[in-house]
Every structure is written in C-alpha cells, then in structure tokens.
Amino acid sequence: MRLLSKKDSGLILDPLADNNPITIQVLGICSALAITAELKASIVMAVSVMFVLAMGNVVISLMRNIIPSKIRIIVQLVVVAALVIIVDQVLKAFAYELSKTLSVFVGLIITNCIIMGRFEAFALANGPWRSFLDGIGNAAGYGLILIIIGFFRELLGSGTLLGFKVLGDPITKTGLYAIGYENNGFMLLSPMALIVVGIIIWVQRSRNPALVEEN
C-alpha cells in the first residue's frame, strides 16, 4: 500500500521541480535575495517557512467554509502573524540561541508571498490533509532553491560552507588561495542572488522545454 496516493504525492513533489514556487511561480524572491549569503541562514529560513506554511495552510483550510470572503486576506494575515509570533516566543523560551538567528527572518516570513499565495490558491479550496501536504511541498521547493543559492553564494563569496573553511584560509593563503584564488565579493551582494536564481531558471528550462512559455 502506498503511503500517499499519486495525487497526494504530487502535492509534495511538483513544487520541488516543475511547479517550483521560486523558479516557476516567481514568488518569494525577496527573501531569496535577502538571506542567502550564508547557507545556515538559508536552511533556518527554509525550516521556519515550512512550519508556518504547513500549519497556516491547515488552519485556513479548517476555516475555509466560515471565512467571510470580504476580509479573507486580513484573516490570512492574522493567521500567519499569529503563527510566526508563537514560533518566535516558543523559540525564545526553549531554544534561545536559535531564536536569535531566526529573529532577522521573522518579518520576512510574514511578508513571504508564497504563504499568502498558497492560502489563496490551495487552502481556501481543499481539505486540511491535502493543504498540509501542499504546504510541506511548496516550502520544500522554496527551501531547495534557497539552499542551492546559499550554497553557491557562501562557497564562492566567503570560501566557507556552514562556517567551515572549505577552500582554505584566505588570510594565511592555504588551500586554493595558495594558487591565487580570491573570494568573489560580488557573491555576497544581493544582486548576485538574483543572477543565481536566473541561472537556475535557465538550467531548469533548458532541461525541460515544456516549461518555456509560448510567445
């Protein structure tokens, strides 16, 4: 017996590739630019968005038949904001160190368009279980791109990964630096994140021409 039906597993797998929120739907770009200079920050952001999006999708889905359509955007915002505040408070009480790393991103989670986009497009029309899967899938697709960008930016910009020096020491000139390699400072600036996103979109579309829009 399969754990998930084909339709349900599609909810998880589609956003990872052919319906990726960043590269195909072009949502959540702002946070992809802002926080991907380090791989660790990208991972923390991906996990936090996954929690907020999955839980938010479930809450909105449970309330979908009673939300007045005139104020549905406000209701969605209140749900996201409340979830983010609860996560932040719980982390501050029980994982203080992690909460300090997260604090930069809390505001960004509330303004992340993927969250409102999924509430509007999916949770308002589907049941809680499928909405939960949709939340997990979309956050995973978003996180995957964030981690790829974070990987290249940290590696080429600082010569480190998760803070570990993988290319050698730039000051004492060991490893790659001994043969004249220099860190690319451009990689640490936000515009380079946009260029990396562009390259990912290019690679993805050239591998799967069905994704290219017709003129």
């Binding site: 038949n65 007045p68 005139k70 501050k92 020096k165 640490l188």
Partner: protein
Amino acid sequence: MAVNTDKNLYTVVFAAIMVVVVGSVLALTASGLSDKIKENQRFEKQQNILYAMGVNENVDEGSVNFIPADKVEAEFTKYIKEQLVIEDGKVLKDENAYLIDVKKQTTLARKGEKAKLPLFIGDKDGKKFYIIPMYGKGLWDAIWGFIALDDKMVVQGVYFDHKGETPGLGANIKQRYFMDDFTGESIMSGTKYSGISVAKGNNDPINARKDDNKVDALAGATITGNGVSAMISETMKFYEDYLKTIRVN
C-alpha cells in the same frame, strides 16, 4: 444549515471573534513564557559580559562558545567582583547593574540627561578587567556589545551583537576573526580617548599592528563597521571621567 458568509453582520461578528481568539492565544503564550524568556535574557547578558573578559568555552580559533546557561550564574558571581553604576559623576555599587537597560540609558546620555551607566569589574587569574556595555546603531538596526579594558586602557576582549545586520556581511561583527582583532588595541591615542576605528584599506588584514587604533574592516559591511567605531568612541566619551581615575600609565 449553510451560513451566508457575505452578510455585513456576519463579517463584523467573525472579525470580532477572531480578534478575541487570536489575542487571547497570543497573550496566553506570551504571559506563560515570559518568565522563561526573561531568565534566558538575563543569562545571555551574563554570558556576554564573561565572554568579553575571556571567560568562555571557545575550543578553536573559529568558535564563539559561551559558558552554558546552567552554569553561568555561578561563574558570573565567581569572576565579576563589583558591579558599579556611574550616575552624575558619582560611582555607586549596584548588585544588579547588569540588568540596567543600556539602550535607554545611552539614549539619555546622548541627550545630555542624567543617565545610569553600568560598569563591571572582573577578576581573572589575579588580573583586573573593566567591562563596559555599549549600544549603537548599524546599517539596519541596533548593535551592542561589551568591551573589557585593563588599567592601561588596552582592550582585553570584546563581544559584539546585532539585531538585524545582513547575514554574511554586517552580521559578521559577532565572528571571532573580527572580535579578536580588537584585543591588544588601545582606546587611547596619546592622551586622548580616541576609541578604535574599523578601517577600510587598513592594509593589515592579520592585524599585526596594535598601536594604530585601527582594526581591519569587514568587506561589504562599511556602515556596520562605521557603526561599531562610532559606538566605541561614543561610549568612551560617556565613561572618560571614570576611566581617568583608574588609568595607570
């Protein structure tokens, strides 16, 4: 029975109920966790003060490890011998000076109003440390920290932290390679309290020169670096009168 969710009355009632429910949930969470959060914040201050005077659990050149939260209170009483508050030129003892809101007091001092400026005297292996809290602004938000001096006004250690500096750029002020550069620098330039500037193009990346009142800047984080310089020199001005009384040439 299907409810007509488009009616104005329904919308108003729904909004009111939602505000009450969400408000209560958030209030309950906040009040339930507030003691635990305050305790964590208290421990963090103690950890930071001890870190600046070199009491930490760093294992190698890259790590920033504090004394664990469950041991920090005992270590704090062991190493911090005196907690002082400088108010209007008078130096008073205060058992809980570390709990003083440095942000509020710095704002008062900036306006030239009466402020309570905390200072901690630590003792490690028979050596005296004067630890001063600092508060300033970086590129996006607040930055703060502690600086530990000896009686010759030479920096023995620092700790910096920030609220919202850019990860990978300004946020690196709390990395070892930046903080360690300050150790050994003097805050005096001749007889003047000059602070230490975070200099671009210092051409001294391993910071071998300790007599220039300069440390090498962080690439791509000019404004955060300038914020750190400004924060140190401003704080030194507030504490100058007291530091003169303890200075040994």
